[in-house]
Amino acid sequence: MRKYAWIGLMLLFAIAGFAIVDIQRQQNDEVQKTLLGTPLPTFELADLEGNIQSSTQWDGKVRLINLWAAWCPPCRREIPAFAEVYDFYAEQGFVVVGIAIDELEPVKKFLAKHGQVKYPQMIGMQDAIEIGSKLGNANGGLPYSVIVDRQGIIRFIRQGELEKDTLLNLIEPLLEQ
């Protein structure tokens, strides 16, 4: 009996060894996952004209909150698709809120070049980064997208490019509520 106890112990050690090292990698995942199903925290940031805007003005809508920057290639790639989806579904109560973690000049230049992007924009630096952290972006990487339903509950989080199809599949059921 004791023999088997030893063997069992050893197997446990082996598994523990793997598990502990794996935990390290999953830490970034953790924060994001715990935010799913929780209410979106309220936040305030300046818009491109310098006026402070509050996130509460979009309550009741299906929201895509998208953290981006002009120097971030994957961000720039996904934005035109967001603009299209916004144009199509704005009437039904969908809004994209862009939060630029960048300087004003490059953001304005980018938007001037992409005139089709008509959804509301906010801009900031350290304050915007902090909002990102509150939304689960521990390592600060962009782009970072959060989808919120009409009741204000966070339903989806993605760090990295968000494809148009995925976005449509996610918001269509939420819009029907």
Binding site: K3, W6, I7, M10, L11, F13, A14, G17, F18, I20, V21, Q24, R25, Q26, N28, D29, A69, A70, W71, C72, P73, P74, C75, R76, R77, I101, F110, I129, A138, N139, G140, G141, L142, P143, Y144, Q159, G160, E161
Partner: protein
């Protein structure tokens, strides 16, 4: 316990050790095949800032960039007292960006540093601050906001920099195993490192240095008296903890003191002591005499209060002692950890990590000790065979250590004799067991090969028949000019530059394993000799590691050998061409070709 059970358990132990210590490389392998579940690293891990300065206010700026990440060349900014300094940045990889157009980025390895200088030329107050800003992205599709690191000048290590030299393209700079370990230690979290070193310890427990200690020690600690399982466990625990603590303490002392441990292990006196110890241990395994705690010591201990306390103290003492005895065998992780302590001054991490190493090494003992020897073979032929094998291993270790101070031919002879004699002895005890007999015959044959090979002039343990294989291959040493002082070095280099010649400087030491590998596998080859024709070859033998040696090493920002430096026909070092580890013949030739192409 049956042999099959023992083998099974040993296999399990091995698999655990391997699984834990192989986590990182396995993870890297998996990542390389592109998993969709890749987790992006935090920017501080993806881009590790590495800066150096010299005493004239010149700086080198470099990042250790993780694979599949890149930094934007143009976004690198250095600000000093609110003014942006001009930074000389090396050429990067060109990428095409839809918005920015053609941009340059840096990836791993970033061998050539960016450079800048302070406007006040080295008269600056060391508390002045530098703001270094940089940003980059990950290939998997995310980008990081700019990071700004604020460093005081005193935070940046002082070294000597070679300032000219072409700003060249990306190149591979190799690091020795120890540097890799130091690097890993400073980047991984403590928990992970503890597990890795536990794994190392376990693996080391299976080496010929440590494994034979197990039956010896368990015999000594437990004795042949019947004890309770708890007592046996406690005794072995005291032993293992003492061993682990000794490593931790020893490591901290040596690390903070900055001494070069490897040098100690090369003093003939020290080697002689270790060899004697191992020979004695081997003798006990062969049954020539019984190893017990000297009765005087036993009496002394039992006078310390109860007999029990005496035993615990004895076990602790043995633990400490054996930590030091087997130290020569466990060099790479030990030295790696020591270097880490020395370089970072982070004694706590170093101590914890070394403690884990000791614990790992003690695991087999824990198991055997606690089982009260039930898992050791019963006295008899089986036990004798295993002891004989261990005895041979111990003698092998003794010969290996002798190799450091004794001419190679002699060690080869001893090694050959050991194999032949040992093989015959094993054969005589194999009875009808085919496996043992086969093994014994194999080592006899190999021993004969070595003896034969040595007699016809082969210098190698691994290829005894080399003299017969290639008659044109000459095992020659490179004609290095031995350099003792820094001034001598500088004179030789300027002489070479007067003749428009390249020079190569090799740092060597008898105790530097990679150096010996370089000599055997690279510097002995004819093609290398040919390629180095026209080079002025210099070598600094830092075996003694005296004050002058340390000065030269420090001058080049080195901690020790191996290192190969190259100086162009202009007499200036090609810093990016440094080699700090073993390179094969092929890689070395390629490196030389590259070097001369770029001029």
């Amino acid at each position: 316990m049956k042999l099959s059970h023992k083998v099974f358990l040993l296999a399990l132990l091995c698999s655990w050790a391997v699984s834990v210590s192989a986590q990182t490389p396995i993870q890297k392998l998996i990542d390389q095949f592109g998993s969709t579940q890749e987790e992006p690293l935090p920017p501080d891990q993806a881009f590790q800032l590495d800066m150096r300065r010299d005493s004239n206010g010149n700086f080198e700026l470099r990042w250790d960039i993780s694979k599949d990440y890149y930094l934007y060349r143009d976004k690198i900014k250095v600000v000093y007292f609110d003014a942006e300094l001009k930074v000389n940045k090396p050429v990067g990889e060109t990428i095409s960006d839809e918005f920015f157009g053609t941009t340059q980025v840096y990836r791993y390895p970033m061998a050539t540093p960016a450079r800048f200088s302070l406007p006040d030329d080295g008269q600056a107050n060391l508390t002045n601050l530098l703001h270094i800003t940089y940003q980059g992205c990950a290939d998997l599709g995310i980008c990081y906001p700019p990071t700004t690191k604020i460093l005081a000048l005193s935070d940046i290590p002082l070294t000597s920099l070679n300032l000219s030299g072409p700003v060249a393209n990306n190149e591979e700079v190799e690091f020795s195993v120890q540097d890799k370990i130091v690097n890993e230690l400073s980047t991984k979290s403590l928990g992970v490192m503890v597990f890795i070193f536990l794994g190392f310890g376990l693996l080391l427990a299976l080496t010929p240095c440590v494994l034979p200690m197990v039956p010896i020690v368990s015999g000594m600690i437990i004795g042949s008296q019947n004890r309770s399982a708890t007592r046996a466990f406690l005794l072995t625990s005291v032993y293992v903890l003492a061993m682990a603590s000794t490593y931790a303490v020893f490591g901290v002392i040596v690390g903070l003191g900055g001494a070069n441990v490897q040098v100690w292990f090369q003093q003939p006196a020290v080697i002689a002591v270790f060899v004697a110890i191992f020979v004695l241990l081997a003798a006990s395994m062969f049954g020539l005499f019984e190893l017990r705690m000297p009765s005087k010591m036993q009496m002394y201990f039992s006078q310390m209060g109860s007999k029990q306390r005496g035993q615990y103290f004895g076990a602790a003492l043995m633990g400490s002692g054996s930590a030091l005895i087997v130290a020569p065998c466990i060099t790479p992780p030990l030295v790696g950890a020591l270097l880490f302590i020395a370089q970072t001054g982070d004694a706590i991490t170093g101590a914890v990590v070394l403690f884990s190493l000791g614990l790992g090494m003690g695991v087999p003992l824990w198991i055997i000790g606690t089982s009260m020897g039930k898992w050791l073979p019963k006295p008899g032929l089986a036990m004798k065979r295993i002891n004989a094998l261990f005895g041979l291993l111990l003698l092998g270790v003794a010969v290996w250590m002798l190799d450091r101070v004794v001419p190679e031919t002699l060690t080869l002879l001893l090694g050959g004799l050991l194999l032949v004699g040992g093989g015959i002895y094993l054969f005589s005890m194999s009875g009808k067991l085919l496996l043992w007999r086969g093994f014994a015959v194999t080592i006899i044959l190999y021993g004969v090969l070595i003896l034969f090979g040595t007699s016809v002039g082969s210098g190698s343990f691994l290829s005894p028949l080399a003299p017969f294989m290639q008659t044109t291959e000459k095992h020659e040493e490179l004609p290095f000019k031995q350099i003792e002082k820094l001034a001598e070095l500088e004179a030789t280099v300027s002489e070479a530059s007067l003749k428009q010649q390249w020079s190569m400087l090799d740092f060597y030491a008898d105790w530097c394993v990679s150096c010996k590998e370089l000599e055997t596998f690279t510097f002995s080859k004819e093609k290398v000799h040919k390629a180095l024709n026209g080079f002025v070859l210099m070598q600094v033998d830092v075996t003694e590691n005296n004050a002058e040696h340390q000065r030269v090493l420090k001058h080049f920002g080195l901690y020790g050998p191996p290192a190969i430096l190259f100086f162009g026909p202009d007499g200036k070092e090609r810093r990016s061409a440094r080699l700090v580890g073993f390179v094969s013949e092929k890689d070395f030739l390629r490196h030389l070709a590259h070097l001369q192409e770029r001029g």
